[in-house]
Amino acid sequence: MPELGKLALAIALILAVYSIVANIYGVRRDAPDFVVSARHALWSMCAMVTIAVGALWTGLLRSDFSLEYVAAYSSTTLPTIYKITSLWGGQQGSLLFWTWLLSIFTSIAAFQNRRRNPEIAPYALAVMAAVAIFFLGMLNFVTRPFDLLATIPAEGSDLNPLLQNYWMAIHPPSLYTGYVSATVPFAFGAAALITGKLDDAWIRTTRRWAIFSWFFLTLGNMFGARWAYEVLGWGGYWAWDPVENAAFMPWLVMTAYLHSVMIQERKDMLKIWNLSLIGLAFGLTLFGTFITRSGVISSVHSFTQSGLGPYFLTFLIIVTLAYSALLIFRSNQLRSPADFESYLSREAAFLFNNLFLVGIAFAVFWGTIFPVLSEAVRGVKITVGPPFFNRVNGPLALGLVFLMGVGPLIAWRRTTADNLLRSFAAPVILGVSTGVVAAALGLREWYVLTALSLAAFAMGTIIVEFRRGMNARRHLVSEPRVRALVNLVAKNNRRYGGYVIHVGVVVAFVGIIGSSFFRTDVKKSVHPGQSFTIGSFTLRFLGLSQIETPHLESATARVEVLRADGREVTVMEPAKLFYKRAQQPATKVAIRSTPIADLYLVLAGIDDTGETATFEVFLTPLVFWLWAGGLLMVLGTVIVMWPNVRERAAIAAALSASRAGAPAGETAPGGE
């Protein structure tokens, strides 16, 4: 199997190189056979990488410790599900997994474009193949997943215990899918620059890819936050760790891109900006990988650190320089027609939304690299942690939520004062009332009051927008309310799906505010039978039970949770785990989640006699809504991505217009 994996990776590399040569030769010499051959080469490359992945999975499932990777990241007692997830638990495996996803997405893009975009698709596929060559080069020559050990150990070192969690089974694949799928719109953008076909055909062709990437980046960030919440045991979900930041930045930039392309689709403006954003989003995915693997910045995500940093940095620099050179080279052709009337317009709101999104991305980037900068300039190591990021991003987030409220109700081109008053009166009243009620309830932090008011304002504008649409339908086609709502969303899925995503963001924002500002915690050491309180809950320690399996030892505490009136609410069972192979302790928290607050119980320690247990308890208000907001964002994205006949017709029209050389906007309705 290892030999098969090695061979498959070597062939995949050769095929990737061949596909670039054949694609470029085919399109430049007008030799379609070569383009077809290049496509087949890419599919074969995907098959080869799949074989390599299969070979490594086989090694992991069979506990073949002759493979260095399997010996380092697995063990005979590791549960099967984690043997499978070990594929992305270590350096080489995660790079192989990345390459596999890239080869799959490249194959799909090749299939989708087998009969369309004949001018730019071969270049786009060549760009994707070039990215694949970098990763395949690493796997073949630098960090090889099929290296063998001279002496075969009887047992493996096991997977890092922190990664033995079901969120870890889905968090890295989601994030990697988000990262890797950003390659497709980037490659088409680069191809548009190479060929000079700079209308919006590349945007329409890759719009779903961009949303797909954004969707998985959202999922990846959410799953990562949930993993931190359940596994790290500190009661929080986001620590502004460099690797978390590295996943957050492409999400921000991709969000900005998804908004600003609407201006290009509608008004043929912002071509340079959109191409820059997609280049930046792709660059940030590489930067994220560089951060994770280089070790230049210390991070809680040190699972895959290695000496690969210089390779990634070099690749990142090459990509940045090449893409920037293309942008500069084509800058004259990228000049857009000026079509702007008023600051009180949706395009202005979108641009300021871009400013805040990219501004937050910059603030995160700046904070992430500042320790390196400080060490280089002053020779002093410093840390840039949560207080910095919270303080700097706090006001920017408020601006963003405000603009999210303004965007839906403001018209394209220009909005009159009357229209503004009519549209925003109700949301403004809702926002102000929320602030007043919150203040009356005793909240005093001005940030919280402003944040809640703005969240209510943004929610108000979305409700007004839905209500308007529903009323219009009821008026024009005499539908009952519910059917009008369903049809409204179904027939304008891109627009209203987007609003559902906005609702999700607002809901998650409220969850973040509640959980960040009002968390309380208690730490207590108690004997069995003793109680302590947090908030309105009384917690009574019932006792400990020990379990030992070949894989781990665990001590589980039973804690009865009572209301003030003595009524039992639930029994919670936090545990301390000790993984035998890795010789590492870990914590299993117990969480009782409600829309009001989460009760989060950590078994922090057990004394030597085994009688006294120390508990750390967090009562975190509204954190439930962070996850609910995430689900709404998922729902919204599904609505946006739902197949839409009208949109398909628009894409076809845009592509035919592109072939005919006419501006696509003239023939294709822009949608929302």
């Binding site: 790290l232 809680v300 000026a338 008023s342 600051y343 300021f352 400080s374 002093v380 207080p387 922090a604």
Partner: protein
């Protein structure tokens, strides 16, 4: 004229952000923290765990961490002795250097860390305003006083037919 007003408005917004930021900067630079007894969480959030986890001392929850566990206990003792948050933090800064602080101080080179994001935002906002100005002067706009919502009245019949058709499709 309106452009000038908008530029001023933008300057005001940025200034407001700095005002918002200033209490924290003041805290960080002069370490004039509140005089009342601090909690362990307040102090340990300001310190970074040195075990390599990258989290704050408050957040590192490694059960056997050789740094955060003893430091949290020490902080409890220092609070018990009546030490202020500033003094406790100064103690650790003296002992481990600047890297133990969870945020950069707002002095000297580190000021760049705090100000650069807002400078970038300001510059970005300025560029947008400039671009808007250029686009607007080059853009064919509706005659003054025209109501874009009433503009449909001046549509030619073909446009009206197209609008009706698209409305029917959407509905």
């Amino acid at each position: 004229m309106r452009r000038r007003i908008l530029v001023r408005l933008l300057i005001l917004v940025v200034a407001a952000l700095f005002v918002f930021l200033s209490p924290e900067l003041k805290n960080v630079s002069r370490e004039t923290f509140a005089a009342e007894t601090p909690t362990n969480a307040q102090v340990s959030q300001s310190l970074t765990c040195q075990c390599g986890c990258g989290l704050t001392v408050a957040n590192c929850n490694m059960p056997t961490c050789g740094f955060s566990v003893p430091v949290r206990a020490e902080i409890d003792q220092m609070i018990g002795k009546g030490m202020s948050r500033a003094r406790i933090i100064a103690f650790y800064r003296h002992k481990y250097g600047e890297k133990v602080l969870s945020a950069p101080t707002a002095e000297g080179f580190n000021l760049l860390a705090w100000t650069m994001p807002f400078i970038a935002l300001f510059v970005g906002g300025g560029l947008i305003v400039l671009a808007f100005g250029r686009w607007r002067s080059a853009s064919p706009s509706l005659p003054s006083g025209a109501n874009p919502e009433g503009a449909a009245d001046s549509f030619d019949p073909e446009l009206k037919r197209r609008l009706k058709r698209e409305l029917e499709e959407r509905m």
